[in-house]
């Protein structure tokens, strides 16, 4: 069971939340300059790491706002919670992977 610290509502049970997958994916553009390969990668490829993963969550049965979590996918330890638009405190790289 995860105890998730919503940035607006405080600590709540995981059943109030939904996970929206990998964070910090940037939409490539302009559209006419994006190849099929690049577009396919943007839509479908995920880093899916065993370990630290930065991902979006929504407080679906609460304030219904989106935010980011840095979580370990093997132990479920939540390392950081930070708002949309903020960069991850531990690793400010662009694609969600923690180097």
């Amino acid at each position: 069971m995860l105890l998730i610290e919503c940035p607006w509502c405080g600590p709540r049970d995981e059943v109030e939340f939904q996970c929206g997958g990998q964070s910090h994916i940037e939409r490539p553009g302009p559209p006419e300059a994006v190849s099929d390969e690049r577009w396919g990668a943007y839509l479908f490829e995920r880093i899916n790491p065993k370990g630290l993963h930065r991902e979006r969550w929504v407080h679906a049965f609460g304030c219904r706002r989106w935010f980011n979590i840095a979580r370990n996918t093997a132990t479920h330890e939540i390392i950081a919670v930070y708002r949309m638009g903020e960069s991850s405190p531990d690793a400010p790289s662009g694609d969600g992977a923690v180097p």
């Binding site: 995860l2 099929d36 995920r46 880093i47 790491p49 996918t73 093997a74 479920h76």
Partner: protein, 425 residues
């Protein structure tokens, strides 16, 4: 040594069981060899689950390629092959999926004889329950699609379901009222460990080296970018071609090789109850709750449900999903409400955006893949091995696998089977 006695290649039979009875069971030996890794193989298969072992078996048997090694990080069948709920079915919607999974079902029908190993394939049927008018409409459409694809399946009225599954609450006041359903009569269950062990034994007898406790730690490429060796915890192994069938850990290996996959790993839980007298003689899946159950030959109820819906490599699963799954069982089968559970675990499954597998070439020359089966890889073991062996041996994709290439995520030709498990994964 047993290996020197020449007994290893003898088949299992009733006579053998009788003979060993007289000899105090002293003549049985290990079912497969455990050799040290050779420095070089024609094909190295990474992953000693069902798909990897089946690939090695068909390489040796169908194509005569016997210099093959299967590398397994832990023990064979210790991953998802030993963690699934053993259901075999082919109730898919689109033609390519129907052809693929139905071929697998046909291979399962002959598998015990093929491998000389009893995989206990029991075609006890699988009933899918509809709990509303909308469920029933979806089920009718589903059955229509299956029949058009040549997979036999039929609608089942409530009275017939109540007769076949007396433990199910089909009353009008049920929490999940049953409006009807459909049955695939050839679906059923198989003994999952036996599938891994049977393929391992048959492959080993054909000369395949099964190397356990051997983790792949990296790939070596030549100047053209082609993979030529795997680095392992038991040394460097040279390979003509390399195949990977590692389910939930596919992206980790892909990362080592230098490419990415459209795969996310999730935990899928399974539950087994204390043994009961026979109470359910088929597999029943509920479209409302996504929960399904069957009863093993030992008497335990084998139960599965939805994924834990966030990325996970934890082979245990979390409490809220467990509560949903078991709560649904208690509501739908009131007489089972007080049954105690023996075990619970999770497998790390490789979910694709279109819920269909990825089969064939990777962006890396010399490296082939079998992954993306998600929550339904067990039923596909025979066909997964068949098509990957074909591709490795001939250099061309098998006709059943052509539609399932990694290239579909660039072309957009997805095969969206998201509804085909009947569970909102």
């Amino acid at each position: 040594m047993y290996w020197d006695s020449g007994l290893m290649n003898q088949g299992y039979s009733g006579w053998r069981v009788l003979l060993e009875g007289f000899r105090g069971q002293s003549g049985w030996g290990p079912a497969w060899r455990s050799p040290e890794p050779a420095p070089e193989y024609d094909v190295v298969v990474i992953g000693g689950g069902g798909h990897g072992l089946a690939t090695a078996y068909y390489l040796a048997k169908t194509y005569g390629i016997r210099k093959v090694a299967v590398l397994e990080k832990g023990w064979i069948g210790g991953g998802n092959t030993g963690r699934n709920t053993t259901v075999v079915r082919s109730n898919y919607y689109y033609r390519p999926s129907a052809d693929l999974y139905n071929h697998s079902m046909q291979l399962y029908e002959g598998l015990s004889k093929e491998l000389n190993y009893n995989v206990m394939f029991s075609q006890r049927g699988m009933i899918t329950l509809a709990h509303s008018r909308h469920d029933l409409e979806a089920a009718t459409r589903w059955v229509g699609a299956m029949r058009l694809n040549g997979v036999d399946s039929e609608m089942m009225p409530v009275a017939e379901i109540a007769r076949r599954v007396p433990a199910l609450d089909t009353s009008a006041s049920a929490r999940y009222p049953v409006w009807g359903g459909f049955i695939q009569k050839r679906a059923g269950t198989a003994r999952h460990d036996a599938v891994a062990w049977g393929y391992a034994r048959a492959a080993s007898n054909l000369g395949v080296d099964i190397i356990q406790n051997c983790e792949v730690t990296g790939f070596v490429k030549d100047g053209t970018g082609r993979v030529i060796s795997v680095m392992t915890t038991r040394g460097l192994i040279k390979a003509g071609k390399i195949a990977m069938a590692v389910a939930g850990h596919s992206t980790a290996l892909a990362e080592m090789a230098g490419f990415r996959l459209p795969i996310t790993s999730y935990a899928l839980q399974a539950f087994v109850s204390e043994p009961l007298k026979p109470v359910i003689d088929t597999v029943v899946l509920s479209l409302a709750t996504g929960v399904y159950l069957s009863q093993s030959d030992k008497g335990g109820l084998v139960i599965g449900g939805a994924l834990d819906l966030y990325p996970s490599y934890a082979q245990r699963g979390n409490i809220p999903t467990m509560r949903n799954v078991l709560g649904a069982v208690a509501e739908q089968y009131p007489s089972l409400g007080r049954v105690r559970f023996l075990r619970q675990w999770a497998g790390v499954v490789d979910i694709c955006p279109d819920s269909s597998p990825i089969l064939g070439e990777t962006p890396i020359d010399g490296l082939y893949i079998n992954c993306g089966w998600g929550t339904g890889g067990f039923k596909a073991i025979p066909v997964g091995g068949t098509v990957l062996a074909h591709h490795l041996a001939t250099g061309e994709p098998h006709r059943l696998a052509r539609a399932f290439s990694l290239a579909r995520f660039t072309s957009g030709a997805l095969i969206d089977e998201a509804a085909a498990s009947g569970i909102a994964h």
